[in-house]
Point group: C2
Chain length 75, copies 2
């Protein structure tokens, strides 16, 4: 790695699940290395002390994902 | 790695985005190593010849994600 990854969770939009170890899958607005915040879907250890796998999304991607999920799932 | 990862894309539920290189971010139903298929949100090269980062979801997680996105975004 070329150095420490800096991040700031500016907002937790929602928590998708919590596993037995207390890790949570969250949708957050995250600023990486001081850049403008992006939506980020990722697994986090309690207190955000460690991060797991995740994906970053543009606003358009999130809206497209929402539409796909709404077409697939019923209320 | 302990061996080749086997997968079968049983259904492409939707395409979220396509980048300049032709990679697509897709929501699929994927069977990993012959196990029952799970929902999988992941980046894929054209023709699914290579896979990128991604996350696997339970049905409950996808529904929770849908509710979070619907609360956040308007039509």
């Amino acid at each position: 790695m070329a150095g420490a990854l800096q991040f700031e969770i500016e907002e937790t939009v929602g928590v998708i699940s919590t596993n037995k170890s207390g890790w949570k899958r969250e949708l957050n607005l995250v600023s990486w290395n001081g850049r403008p915040a992006k939506f980020d879907l990722r697994d986090w250890a309690p207190d955000h002390s460690k991060m797991g796998k995740g994906l970053t999304f543009t606003n358009d991607e999130l809206d497209q994902l929402r539409q796909i999920l709404n077409e697939m799932l019923t209320n």
